[in-house]
Symmetry: C2
Subunit: 466 residues, 2 copies
């Protein structure tokens, strides 16, 4: 039998081939005109291979260090390494750092007079030529670095959370702290806080409205929401990584729309969406590597670190790429899960430590987990639960006296099991991937088609400019 912490011969050769191809493309890219998009794809392949191998190799080291957990939804409850998301995140961060000279290279060589003499700067217009250069002006560097800083912050605090078992109400603040570098650099570097007003309201508010510090509150809220939302939509093998991958691929698809030949060029949003692509591609690489180990039956757990990190990647691209509203359209299942959970989060309904579906060892299937009402609910809560039960949004069990003795936990996973009945863990994960995909596609359709009903122009501008 193959050792669980080494790569098989086939795996080794495939990964080496991938790294070799990536490095080849990378060297070629750097020598020539330096197309950053190609370089980013090459780095993505390399990141995948490195993350894949590191996760495999570090398994026993993590277990030895006490970073391990029991998989409760398996007959034998095996103990497997925990917090592997940290490995992903470190590989991802290094790949984004190594990418810097590819994204900003042209500026040093062509835009300065040489010898580090930055006084004499040729204007940007002289350099940016042609549609497919895909490179950023130097001024975007601070913005890129601030995104990186926020991501590193959340990795540090996420690891702290995984290690120290921080209390729930302190956990929520982790993304808030991590958002600070991004918001501060936004403030210092750019500081645009006015937004376009929807057409029906323009008569009252004008075409633009300056939200001022409210805009910062909004950005902070997005940055706090995304990581916590992904962390909350967890509990079965592979679900954290799979939902993140679906969101990332759909964001990438949305970005690609702005670069496709059908879109008029130059488009003011091109740079922002390139920015987003460069952050998303390596994320997809390392997440795919993690999913290979984390999909049912899991060989490793991802830890809160991964959930925070993934959510922060989305917040960074949404905020710095200026499409946070579109981003939220792809978070519909997470938003639903959060709203649906609120009665338990605010302890209107008792909240056990873990709300994940329950494994039935006899059938091998997952069933809904329940809250047991040791003290019967107040009449108001009982009424609300009755109504939700009628609407099939929760399932309650009563004793012979008609009193509620248990109700299903309020998570989207349990709700799905209420609707669909018990199912295998991997089937449930696949269903959730389906839900995420369908919701996301509807969201993108709304964004690009229906938004024209309330805004003058889609910034993609198929209609208005093509």
């Amino acid at each position: 039998m193959q050792n669980s912490s080494t790569l098989s011969r086939t795996e080794t050769w495939r990964l080496l081939l991938l790294v070799g191809a990536g490095l080849g493309v990378l060297v070629n890219t750097f020598q020539g005109d330096g197309a950053p998009l190609i370089a980013s794809i090459a780095l993505t392949c390399i990141s995948f291979a490195v993350a894949y191998s590191m996760i495999r190799w570090l398994g026993p080291v993590f277990i030895k260090a006490g970073l391990k957990g029991k998989d409760m939804a398996k007959p034998r409850k095996p103990e497997i390494p925990e917090t592997m998301g940290a490995v992903c995140a470190v590989v991802y961060l290094l790949s984004l750092i190594v990418f810097i000279p590819f994204a900003f290279y042209k500026d040093i060589v062509a835009a300065t007079s040489g010898g580090g003499n930055r006084d004499v700067v040729i204007e940007d217009q002289h350099i940016e030529m042609g549609r497919y250069l895909h490179r950023f002006p130097h001024g975007k560097l601070a913005s890129y670095l601030s995104g990186l800083l926020s991501l590193q912050c959340i990795v540090i605090l996420g690891i702290g959370d995984d290690l120290l078992d921080i209390r729930w109400r302190h956990k929520v603040l982790i993304p808030a702290f991590s958002a600070i570098p991004m918001l501060i650099v936004y403030f210092v570097d750019f500081g645009v806080t006015h937004v376009v007003v929807p057409v029906p309201l323009q008569a009252y508010l004008g075409a633009f409205i300056d939200l001022g510090w409210l805009y910062y509150m909004y950005m902070a809220a997005v940055a706090i929401f995304c990581p916590n939302a992904i962390n909350m939509f967890a509990g079965i093998n592979g679900i954290e990584v799979a939902q993140s991958l679906v969101i990332a691929v759909q964001l990438l698809f949305n970005d690609a729309l702005y670069l496709a030949p059908v879109t008029p060029y130059p488009n003011p949003a091109t740079d922002s969406h390139l920015f987003s692509i460069y952050f998303l591609l390596p994320f997809i690489g390392v997440s795919a590597a993690l999913l290979c180990h984390n999909w049912y039956p899991s060989k490793v757990f991802v830890g809160d670190t991964y959930c925070y990190f993934a959510g922060m990647v989305f917040a960074v691209v949404g905020i710095l790429g200026h499409f946070s509203k579109t981003l939220l359209l792809l978070f519909v299942p997470q938003i639903f899960n959060f709203l649906y959970s609120t009665p338990q989060l605010f302890h209107i309904i008792p909240c056990p430590r873990h709300r994940l579906p329950k494994f039935n060892a006899a059938t091998g299937l997952l069933e809904t987990s329940v809250t047991e009402w040791t003290v019967p609910p107040s009449p108001l809560v009982a009424l609300a639960l009755e109504i939700l039960h009628k609407l099939r949004l929760v399932r309650v069990v009563k004793n012979e006296g008609g009193q509620i003795i248990e109700s299903t936990n309020l998570t989207i996973l349990n709700l799905w099991l209420v609707w669909m009945g018990p199912m295998r863990e991997d089937t449930l994960a696949w269903h959730m991937v389906g839900v995420q995909t369908v919701c996301g596609l509807v969201g993108l359709f709304v964004r690009h088609r229906l938004a024209l009903l309330v805004f003058n122009t889609d910034n993609l501008s198929f209609q208005s400019m093509a």
Copy 2:
């Protein structure tokens, strides 16, 4: 008896007072002209208070998470929390991030035409007025952020090291990876790689020489050396933090020379040294807080994280402040310790896992620790050890046959004990603080007085311009 994880009433009031004063100054600073130097001092006070409290509060949490170690140089070998440097580092990073708008604030308000409209930029010259503005042009932001990125990198990897017990030959690479963001941004952002040639060589090489990629190798070497050097000069209570504090204060003194009224203004090096001050002040704050808990008898250990982090702070200010040679002059004890250790590092002399001085429970004093020669040394090594013994640079013990059976471990702490005889742990720590201080002061004297013998002008320019 006072609980070891809570603050006493006196401590609470003092810290609250400190935070209150700091916040007051900060708010005032931000409202008025915004003097960043004052803000930095205020943030330093706040960082001290926060780090001091957090270290105290988190003790039991760290122990519960398995982050603990035994203090072998105490009669009872108490178990105390480990890796507390990570707490320091996080407080430090947050304070540097919060400081960004103070250092770069003027640019947004005065240097842009408002409303986030960054197209119309008033030239820097129009804004920088007066000697004591102490603010950076916007272009320095990327450099500041890259320093932060490198520090965050080393904190992430340092925590990984403390947790996972990484092998020695992999450990050395941790600072190398962490230096990447700083070097890459240096490359993209600035890229100056020429250095001034000493006068005696100018006839052959010209006034400047462009080192090209060699300069990057040099910077990487500095960034790898500093963290490892501090990590190597460890082993007794408080020594890691105390040496770092001495170096930081001396660097601060050196920086202050460039801002003092005796120095002509504008001086090309002023900005670089302000940069250094802004990075060093909060470092001194959090390190002082850590030292309060880590000085003999230690209540907490600092972990490799602190050593790496401290070394990287010095590497960042040395490299981005362009005074890496001066920096190395303050590292003389560390350089000596490293060179002195090399025979053991390269296994010419056997190297036990730990080389710290040995605690003698009978006397309560520290004594030299020794390498035992189970196999007698080769004639060449034996001869070298004999000579070093004669020079009092090592102490060997021979058996009746004249063969070496043990020799003292090659660290500066053991050497000092060879010279001075056994002593209490805190006395040894104080002696080392003295050594570090004296060496540093000599180094600074050399830098500012004797350097004029080989260079045309000290960039402090007391003589040439005043």
